[in-house]
């Protein structure tokens, strides 16, 4: 008899989700789906508010990456004002955005994902967490916490507080930084760099143990999207969009993010509150693309900083210079991006304009529509606002980084479920592998549906009539 396996909730991710695995009469997995189960409605309740409040309001979408929302939102507001922030303001925004990416990547790698690699996917679930790591590998756990703290401290140093700083505003940032703040950040850089280099070395050394996971954790052909700068290098703040096919063919380049709706459609499925963005020229489903660290490294010609480029070269050799398709390597890309972030933060801090007191442009509403785009830790983030001439918001559309990966995440869990899950007798380790595919993407689901709630996921097994025959609660 056909069955449905439910993993509910999916654990060690940001936000709520459940996975359903459909098993056919012969006990084989037919399909698997990721259900994002909450709705928050930021787009609706922001209507009527002043545009100046949008960075503060939309930052509340997330407690992990509020800075990313502050950046995209402020950029959308810059468009409404028709101003470009001064170089000092742009540099400072870049620094805090990189610090955000760094801390979030450190959180995913050390706190959420490393336990799977440290103890194996079949280890008892009570062991697959950072608390066990503290007992068995205290140095590694400490390093993870230190690295994340480095990013968080930069956010606090610049923005005044670690979560939801109000420093990033339409037109730039609210005030300049002092020499003392600059020195405080610079002096922590060597230790942070040592930690991430060590982590990358350890990760690479573990790869031979996980050949099967590498092969079947969302290893499929998909397009990739990300921002690149005018030289085609890795970019997280400005730049233009690049769409790349699975074989490295550039499909669209130099796309101004404000024209995103010409390239990205958003499909609504009845099984999830998370919309499914797709590349419009190829239509829904065929237009599946991936964003985030793996996609950013795939679409970029290089990173543009020395140490990150060294690691980037090894990374690109995985698939002989072609885009890396294995979702398992998101972790690899994440670590390379941390190196890049540290190098770029140092470079930007040492640019003289960064210390300028000219950090903000002032204007009132000059345009009635604006799009802001930046690279969040999990991928490309869009904020699109419409206002009336008094500056009151009349329309909002947000495509959250994790949302871009919705089709890809579904494809990934289907592949992993088909490969690892025995429908007749699903083991905890196999179900953990299905969840781990989601963890590779590091989705922030509460952001992407704008959901509210506790971090958690479920797996559900259903028969061919849709009846749930097994529900596995992962809390």
């Amino acid at each position: 008899m056909s069955e449905k396996i439910v993993i509910d909730p999916v654990t060690r991710i940001e936000g709520h989700a459940k996975i359903t695995i459909n098993v056919n009469d012969s006990g084989k997995v037919d399909d698997a789906k990721l259900h994002v189960t909450q709705f928050r409605g930021f787009e609706k309740f922001c209507e009527g508010r002043q545009y100046t409040e949008m960075p503060g309001l939309t930052a509340r979408t997330c407690g992990i990456c509020p800075v990313s929302h502050l950046i995209s939102s402020s950029k959308a507001c810059d468009e409404l004002l028709a101003v470009r922030p001064p170089k000092g303001g742009r540099n400072l925004r870049r620094i805090i955005n990189l610090a955000q990416i760094l801390q979030s990547h450190a959180l995913n790698f050390f706190h959420l994902s490393a336990a799977d690699m440290l103890y194996g996917f079949d280890a008892p679930k009570g062991d697959r967490n950072i608390f066990k790591m503290m007992q068995t590998h205290p140095e590694m756990a400490k390093n993870g916490i230190k690295l994340r703290a480095f990013g968080q401290k930069i956010i606090e140093e610049l923005g005044g507080k670690r979560i939801h700083p109000s420093w990033i505003v339409p037109g730039g940032v609210s005030h300049q930084i002092s020499q003392e703040q600059k020195s405080n950040i610079l002096e922590q850089i060597p230790e942070a760099m040592d930690i991430v280099k060590g982590a990358l070395k350890w990760y690479v050394s573990q790869l031979p143990k996980y050949k099967r996971e590498i092969e079947f954790f969302g290893n499929y052909k998909s397009m990739f999207m990300g921002l690149v700068n005018k030289h085609g290098k890795l970019e997280h703040y400005g730049g233009m969009l690049r769409f790349m096919d699975w074989d490295g063919t550039i499909l669209d380049d130099g796309v101004d993010p404000k024209h995103y709706q010409q390239y990205i459609g958003e499909y609504v499925e009845d099984f999830s509150y998370l919309k499914s963005p797709y590349y419009k020229p190829r239509g829904y489903k065929n237009g599946m693309y991936r964003v985030g660290p793996l996609a950013r490294l795939n679409v970029a010609d290089s990173c543009g900083t020395p140490l990150a480029d060294e690691a980037f070269e090894d990374f690109m050799n995985i698939n002989n210079g072609k885009p890396v398709l294995n979702t398992f390597y998101y972790h690899y890309a994440r670590l390379i991006e941390i190196i890049y972030c540290i190098e770029r933060i140092e470079e930007l801090l040492n640019e003289p304009e960064t210390m300028s007191d000219n950090v903000r442009s002032y204007a009132s509403v000059n345009r009635l529509e604006g799009v802001g785009c930046s690279e969040a830790p999990r991928g490309t983030l869009f904020h699109h606002y419409k206002v009336d001439k008094t500056g009151s918001i009349t329309g909002v559309n947000m495509i959250i980084a994790s949302g871009n990966n919705n089709l890809a995440m579904n494809a990934g869990i289907k592949q992993a479920a088909c490969e690892f899950v025995d429908g007749a007798n699903p083991s905890d380790g196999d179900l953990n592998r299905v969840e781990a595919v989601i963890r590779c993407f590091d989705p922030c689901l509460s952001c992407s549906t704008h959901a509210l709630g506790v971090v958690a996921t479920k797996v559900e097994i259903k028969d061919m009539n849709g009846k749930t025959i097994k529900l596995i609660d992962r809390v």
Partner: protein, 242 residues
């Protein structure tokens, strides 16, 4: 001289002997003696209306609570300002003020510079003890330089009073009653269409919350010039003396 002396009244606040002129309020005398009584609608230089009820005090022998900002002093009266019962009442009133509108400090332009927020800290109000109503008010951003957000209004009427008593325009007033009370411009028109508003901005500076703000400010950026009214009134008085 004898008549002058007779105008001074002596009474007790929290057991301490204090003196004040017969035309003074309990709050004024308390302030003169550095006895702190919480206030929200009170502002030095403006008339007192007893709107917020934060300054309620107990008078020995009376079962009624009196707002200190409007209560005149009486010879021999005994005033208590910090009893447990008063603290409880003030906290409950503050809860109701919060519940009546949509006060979301974290995203408010006045975050960190808000008298309502300060009051909740002062009175140790961590949660509202009454359910929130979540009314839906439209923001009036029609004015070129200012924004009026009734969602954050506590109807203290400082803006109404400053406009009438200091600016002399009386562009602001209140419509409706009780929980539905709302500040309006002229005959409830958009701010930009108000013919009596002089766009002086005094209402913005006296507003204790993020209700009346300058345009273009982001979260936590609205810092008000609290001493503006007193400075202005003193400057006028000095000018008149000359």
């Amino acid at each position: 001289m004898i008549r002058e002396k007779a105008r001074v009244k002596t009474f007790k606040i929290n057991g301490t002997d204090v003196t004040g002129k017969s035309n003074q309020t309990i709050l004024e005398v308390a302030n003169d003696h550095e006895i702190k009584i919480p206030t929200l609608c009170y502002m030095k230089g403006l008339s007192c209306v007893g709107a917020c009820r934060m300054c309620l005090v107990e008078i020995k022998g009376s079962h009624k609570l009196i707002p200190a900002c409007t209560g005149k002093i009486k010879e021999g009266m005994e005033v208590e300002t910090e009893t447990e019962s008063l603290k409880k009442h003030r906290k409950f009133i503050l809860s109701m003020i919060f519940a009546e509108r949509n006060h979301v400090c974290s995203v408010c332009v006045s975050n960190g510079h808000c008298e309502l927020q300060d009051m909740s800290v002062e009175l140790d109000m961590k949660h509202s003890s009454v359910p929130y109503i979540y009314p839906k008010f439209e923001v009036d951003a029609s004015h070129e330089r200012f924004v009026y957000d009734p969602n954050r209004c506590i109807v203290c009427t400082r803006c109404v009073r400053v406009c009438n008593e200091v600016e002399g325009a009386h562009a602001l007033d209140i419509i409706d009653r009780g929980i539905n009370s709302k500040i309006i411009h002229d005959m409830d028109e958009p701010w930009a269409l108000s013919e009596s508003c002089t766009s002086c901005g005094k209402c913005v500076q006296v507003c204790p919350t993020g209700t009346l703000t300058e345009k273009g400010v982001s979260s936590a950026e609205m810092v008000k010039k609290k001493s503006l009214i007193i400075d202005l009134l003193e400057a006028r008085e000095n000018r008149d003396r000359k």
